[in-house]
């Protein structure tokens, strides 16, 4: 690896600054600041209700923070709608997987690839997608066939080659999580937010997800990983941010965080409540 690529792989990409999110009387996020770098897995830990999903909602544009800013490589994301944030390179999965019922697994991936085809945003003006598609122009048909082939290739690389023709309605919970992850990877994100991607999975599926996460890291993606399975989280994360009651209470390497009395307190305190 050259010095230049090493530098690129450790560059700050996502910058979360002083973010607060208030819902009525609940301060779900309280002045949270951290950064994520390209090519790292940043674990996000915290007891139930700590604000982890809210943090992802704020970063991905689902919710607008009541204070603070989020930016990607210097470009502000705060206030951008979800699809705009995605087209800038930040995508996510959901605590409850979102499936595209009515499509097959392959078609679900192809939807993600279609957005990619047009610079990360879909649809382009009617002349570029709707009309060629409706008239069935040879160019558009070829492009769609290519999307299908690429979807198959992606499924194969995620170990899901056998699933391409399955209806998404027929998937088991663990398969839904894997498909959602493969779909998110298909848009080649700069930052990938994974909300409890291991919950509800069997050990084989856990290993599959962790393999995909490590591969994404190697490809230079900044992966933010929310997970209650602390052992797995600490094993895959390069750094960890810990939230409790909306505040960042710790940040550091997995071993530092695991040994931090404040963190231990937060988890034990939570269990005693």
């Amino acid at each position: 690896m050259t010095a230049a690529t090493t530098a690129a792989l450790t560059a700050t990409t996502l910058d979360v600054r002083g973010v607060s999110m208030r819902f009525g009387g609940v301060l779900a996020l309280d002045d949270v600041t951290f950064t994520a770098r390209t090519g790292e897995v940043l674990g996000v830990m915290g007891p139930n209700g700590a604000g982890k999903t809210t943090l992802f909602n704020v970063i991905s544009g689902v919710q607008r923070p009541t204070a603070g800013t989020v930016s990607l490589g210097g470009v502000p994301l705060t206030g951008c709608p979800v699809d705009r944030v995605a087209s800038l390179g930040v995508t996510r999965t959901f605590q409850t997987p979102v499936m595209f019922w009515g499509l097959t697994v392959r078609e679900s991936i192809a939807v993600a690839l279609a957005a990619r085809e047009f610079g990360g945003s879909y649809p382009p003006p009617p002349l570029r997608a709707l009309l060629p598609a409706g008239f069935g122009t040879p160019g558009r048909r070829r492009a769609d066939a290519v999307l299908n082939d690429r979807a198959d290739a992606l499924l194969a690389s995620a170990g899901l080659a056998h699933m391409g023709d399955r209806a998404t309605e027929s998937l088991a919970f663990g398969e839904e999580r894997l498909l959602e992850l493969a779909r998110a990877l298909a848009v080649e994100p700069v930052v990938l937010l994974l909300d409890e991607p291991l919950s509800g999975l069997n050990p084989d599926e856990v290993a599959d997800v962790l393999t995909l996460v490590r591969a994404a890291r190697t490809a230079g993606v900044a992966v933010l990983l929310v997970e209650h399975a602390v052992g797995e989280l600490l094993s895959v994360a390069d750094r960890v941010v810990v939230l409790d009651h909306g505040r960042k209470i710790a940040e550091g390497t997995p071993s530092d965080v695991a040994a931090d009395p404040i963190v231990i307190d937060a988890y034990i305190g939570d269990e005693l409540e």
């Binding site: 979800v82 699809d83 995508t91 069935g136 769609d144 299908n148």
Partner: protein, 319 residues
């Protein structure tokens, strides 16, 4: 595996068109007229199915776009002597423009409110038809020129063939669309809008393009209707017609393009049957009662066949 999308819709539609083109030479005029009406309504409903069945939205104002197409073409023909062929294009363009403008308000809204917004559009447009004397006001627009091909002025048979030719083109186009990445993305937003947005899908823009396309279908249908009837008035494009389009769409099966045609045929046929039967069974019943019975029969169909007659929405449930 390489997958080249083939469109069987277009081929089947050509066969249907050939059957219609042959049948009109044998059918009594009354049935040819019904066939024309079914063709015109099918065209509207195919467009509506893209917006409702595939994109998962609701429109209770589709009759307004039919009316806009009809009035635009009529005005162009009567005042400016524009041929209905161009008038249909003009009608489609104006309907598309109105849909485009409205979409900036309506498509921000969730389903129930979208239904109300499109309903309001229908009512407002109808008020315009009623009050605007330039287009005939409440007494309507008479002597609308017919379609011509060279020296030949369209007769009822020609209108039946024209309307089904448009159905064939409309279903071919929609068939290509639903099998393309565009159609898949429509299904994706109807199933999980936020999930699609997180991949970079601009759901509002996608719905807007589809809504405008549905208005184009309706506008063309309206232009053909105006020339076919040679007379239009505001009551031809009222709220009940919009409801009937939704019924056609739902009865045939929302996520099915041929379902749109089947739905249109059933609603038109039921309307005719009730018109014949109700006065015999209930001599005191008036016109409103027919609509009442039509509604009742259709609700019964919906309860018995919730996915519509041609429903192709996957049967697979969640494990």
């Amino acid at each position: 595996m390489s997958f080249a999308p083939q469109n069987a819709y277009g081929r089947v539609a050509l066969i249907v068109l050939a059957v219609v083109a042959a049948a009109v030479w044998f059918l009594p005029a009354y049935y040819t007229g019904l066939l024309t009406l079914i063709g015109i309504y099918s065209l509207v409903t195919i467009g509506l199915n893209l917006f409702m069945g595939y994109a998962g939205q609701v429109s209770l104002g589709q009759a307004a776009f039919v009316g806009i197409g009809a009035y635009t073409s009529a005005v162009l023909a009567v005042y400016l002597h524009v041929t209905p062929w161009l008038g249909a294009a003009g009608g489609a363009a104006v309907a598309a423009l109105v849909a485009y403008v409205l979409s900036f308000v309506a498509l921000r809204l969730r389903e129930n409110l979208l239904a109300l917004a499109t309903l309001a559009l229908g009512i407002v447009i109808n008020v315009v038809f009623n009050e605007w004397e330039f287009i005939g006001g409440s007494s309507g627009f008479k002597d609308i020129p017919g379609f011509k091909l060279g020296a030949f002025t369209f007769d009822p048979r020609a209108y039946a063939i024209l309307s089904w030719a448009l159905v064939a083109v409309g279903i071919w186009f929609a068939g290509n669309l639903v099998r393309s990445s565009f159609g898949r993305t429509l299904i994706a937003i109807s199933a999980g809008e936020l999930g699609a947005q997180a991949l970079g899908v601009d759901a509002e823009k996608l719905k807007r393009q589809t809504f405008v396309l549905s208005a184009v279908y309706a506008g063309i249908a309206g232009a053909v209707y105006a020339s076919y009837q040679s007379y239009i008035d505001p009551s031809s494009f009222g709220f009940l017609l919009s409801v009937n389009f939704v019924l056609m769409s739902v009865i045939g099966g929302l996520r099915s393009l041929w379902g749109a045609v089947i739905g249109a045929a059933i609603v038109v046929a039921l309307g005719q049957i009730l018109q014949a039967v109700v006065p015999v069974v209930l001599p005191s019943a008036r016109g409103d009662f027919q609509q009442f019975f039509l509604g009742a029969v259709l609700i019964a169909i919906l309860i018995l066949l919730p996915r519509g007659l041609a429903g192709r929405v996957s049967e697979g449930g969640r494990a």
